[in-house]
Amino acid sequence: MAVDANNGAQNLPLFVPQKWEREEGGRFFHTGEGGDDSLGKGNHPAPNRINNVAPGVITAKLDDLIAMGRSNSLWTLTFGLACCAIEMISTHMAHHDFDRFGIVTWPSPRQADVMIIAGTVVKKMAEPIRLLYEQMPDPKWVIAMGTCATSGGPYYRSYSVVMGVDHIIPVDIYVPGCPPRPEALMDAFLKLQTKIKSDAKNHQIDDLSEHTAAASVAEVTSATATVEESA
């Protein structure tokens, strides 16, 4: 007596189309109800013709897939400059738990994707920051955390502070606040994920020609010197 291995359950669908003949209308496969012309609605996507052939297989553009992978495992460079770094550390710790977004810190720039500029950038630190940025592999993103990294913040009159890190390296996301709350930093990362995904859709990823830095550090320091002379 033949015993059904599946104990009476329905057989698993096979990865074989049941009908190989071409239908009238030139279609090759059978499609689900409504045909492949039917549109999806809300959370119910339009039936995918491959689903009938090979259920369980996902189809997507390679760009989208890569962007999804990138945006969900953002490794940040362990790099705190000033007060904002404390809030950055708080975000990583148990209470706020940054890990659930796939964000981990990594002490080496060679394996990092994101650089969080958490704190005041002073002119002495400008050169090392640029060096670190250049050591990071592409694609890479920069988040300017706090008003200091955005525009100089409370120290905008100081003789030694760079008026925003975007004078040295290109910045993707600016986070206001002094210091920004952990929630604000999380929001910045969600925005960054959206940006990575939408960039992939618009084929703007890896366009290095747009990622040229504003000014070299040498220029920055010489510009200060001229300011001092004219003053």
């Binding site: 002495k124 009159r157 100081s158 030694s160 920055v220 300011v227 001092e228 003053a231």
Partner: protein, 189 residues
């Protein structure tokens, strides 16, 4: 128009000729604080006077901290006496430079961990090429404070072997601690 002229009590508006003269100071008159030592401070002041002897040009104090002004060339001797004498000032708590525009004043806050007393030494330096002997051989803490004062105020310390920039970077021009150093208004650069 009326008697209650809003400008009545104020000094006359400055014309172009007025600005050439001494700047007119608005606002309430400056009050100078009365410096007074308390009982504990008096005792420390006596000790300080005994220790320094004729070296002290000038002395006063506030609360429990007396100060004595010494000649810049004698500062090292005075500091050594404070450290090794009865006061036992074994810690250089703080050292700072003050830019009084016509001169630069060095202030040394000394502290004794054994007697728990504070005292201050002051020395005036010329505004042009200020120079004072180093106290690094007396207190280790002097070295960094001196490098800082060198960075920010341009004070020279013969006797301190390492005078490389501490807070500023190589090639920074000027001494930003001085009142004459401009602070930027916001500008793009």
């Amino acid at each position: 128009m009326t008697e209650q002229d809003p400008l009545a009590g104020q000094p006359e508006a400055k014309g172009p000729e007025a600005s050439a003269e001494k700047p007119v100071r608005h606002g309430p008159p400056i009050v100078v604080a009365e410096e007074q030592l308390n009982e504990r401070g008096e005792q420390t002041a006596e000790q300080l006077a005994r220790t320094l002897g004729a070296l002290a040009l000038d002395a006063a104090g506030r609360d429990d901290t007396p100060w004595a002004r010494v000649d810049a060339s004698q500062l090292h001797r005075a500091a050594e006496k404070c450290r090794d004498g009865e006061m036992g000032m074994d810690m250089l708590n703080l050292m700072l430079a003050v830019d009084w525009v016509d001169r630069i004043q060095m202030i040394y806050v000394l502290y004794s961990t054994t007697n728990n007393r504070k005292a201050i030494l002051k020395a005036d330096l010329p505004a042009e090429a200020p120079k004072i002997s180093s106290v690094t051989d007396l207190w280790e803490a002097g070295s960094w404070y001196e490098r800082e004062a060198h960075d920010l105020f341009g004070v020279e310390f013969p006797g301190n072997s390492d005078m490389s920039p501490l807070l500023l970077y190589e090639g920074f021009e000027g001494h930003p601690g001085l009142k004459s150093y401009p602070l930027n208004d916001y500008e793009e650069w």
